[in-house]
Every structure is written in C-alpha cells, then in structure tokens.
Symmetry: C2
C-alpha cells in the first residue's frame, strides 16, 4: 500500500467532491427556474453582457465548444436564448437572450444568498474566503496553460 495513493491524502478528491456537492446544492434553487447549474453559468455570462459569440461564452466559462454548443442548443430549445449567424463573419454565431432568458435574472437574484446560507462558515471570515478563492485561482492559472 503506497501512502501517496490513499484517498484521504488527496486534495484533488476533496475538490472533486466539493464541486459535485455544490452543483447538487444549487439544484433546489435552479430546478424551479427550469435550468441546470451549467445553464445558470451561461445565463450569468449573458446577463452581464448580452449578444456574445459562442467563442466568447466558451472562453469565459473555460469550456470547449463541444460542450458549449449542445448546451446552447438545449437552451435555445428552451427559449432562453437565440443563436443567429453573424453578418460580419458567417462562421460566427451570436448568442442573445430572449425575453424569457432576461426575465430569469430577476428570479435568480436570490440564488447566491441562498447558497451562502448553505455554507455558513464562509460568512464568518471574509479574509478566509478570499484566501480560499486565491488558492482556487492559483490552481486554475497553473492548470489552464
């Protein structure tokens, strides 16, 4: 038995588990809105700035087009957004919120507070959260190359 292969020693396993549980924790708030966590991420990007290219959304979420395209197709099918061919460059596709997609922002604005409430330890110490996010950002920077 190699010590380094023990599950409990693995930072990565914790990260993987925490990420899964976070997604699960969002579900009760997002399901009533008819969206998944990944779709919520797309919407947050578009709420911040509408009419983006597929590639811009892709870059913002650090996801490849082979993940983003089907995701946007499903969201278009749900009438959350529309994808229109760019006139400047016919390869590009412009993603824009529909009325329904825009309206969801109003309903979603309480979601972050609900999630914070599920993670009380985070509320206590702002510098601790900051350090935590710094660590995550550090990892992301190192791995995204």
């Amino acid at each position: 038995m190699y010590e380094q292969l023990k599950l409990d020693n693995q930072l990565c396993f914790r990260l993987y588990t925490a990420s899964r549980l976070i997604t699960q924790a969002y579900r009760p708030y997002l399901e009533p809105l008819g969206i998944t966590y990944t779709q919520y991420l797309v919407l947050m990007v578009l709420w911040e700035k509408d009419n983006l290219l597929v590639s811009e959304i892709s870059e913002r979420l650090m996801l490849d087009t082979n993940t983003v395209t089907p995701l946007l197709q499903r969201m278009e099918h749900e009438d959350l957004l529309v994808r229109t061919r760019s006139v400047v460059d016919a390869r590009q596709k412009l993603v824009s919120l529909t009325k329904k997609g825009r309206r969801l922002e109003e309903q979603a604005k309480e979601v972050p507070a609900c999630m914070v409430a599920k993670l009380p330890f985070l509320g206590n110490d702002p510098t601790r959260i900051q350090a935590f996010i710094e660590n995550l950002n550090g990892m992301i920077d190192m791995l995204k190359e």
Copy 2:
C-alpha cells in the same frame, strides 16, 4: 445587473472550474493506464482495502449507486475487478480486484507526484495546503447533510 450574479464573484464557479481542470490534468497520466479519473478513485479505495461492497465504495466516494454501479460494470468489463454476489446477503455484491487491477497500483504510484509537480504553489507552504483542504472539508461537511 445584479452584483451578486457576476460570475467573477462566484466561489462556486472557481471550484467547478478547478475541479474540471484537475480531472483534465490527470488524464495524461491515467490514459496510459487505460483508466479515467473516477475509475482511479475506485481503484484507490480498493488498493487500500480489497473486497468491498458496492455500498462501501459508494459511501467512500460519496457517490450514489446509480453512478457507481455502471462505473463498476465498465471496470469489470475492462477486467480491473470482479463483482460477486455475497453469500451472506444475496442482495449485496462484493467487489474484488483482479490481478490486472492489483498490478495497476504499481504503475499508478508515481501519479500523485506528477500531479504535485503540476501544482508547484502547493509544495511551498504545507500549512497553506492544510488550510485549503480544511476549507474543502468544511464545505463538504456542510453540504453532505
């Protein structure tokens, strides 16, 4: 535009991204062994203690049976393990490593060091890593209910 709905403010998005990138970072080391990251997790559990019930693996990885069962089926198909009906309780299924599954441990023992090398900032400050893991464990404890 609600401030709390900005993507950059979201700890959860960082966690989600870091987790994805970690899994991607494992790939070059695990693919030569013919396994995925999740399969590697199962193997780590079994290398630590062989002959476990499906429910024990499930609990250890905090994954439900509807994830674990198909996973184990694929791994059985790859001749990494076998699943045998328990004689004590015919509902239970015992999961045991095959020779091939056991041999993989030897090949996998370098993987953790390779991953640490990909995350140099972690090597510098052990207390920082510890605090990081504590935060993750804290989140997991709060979310697993």
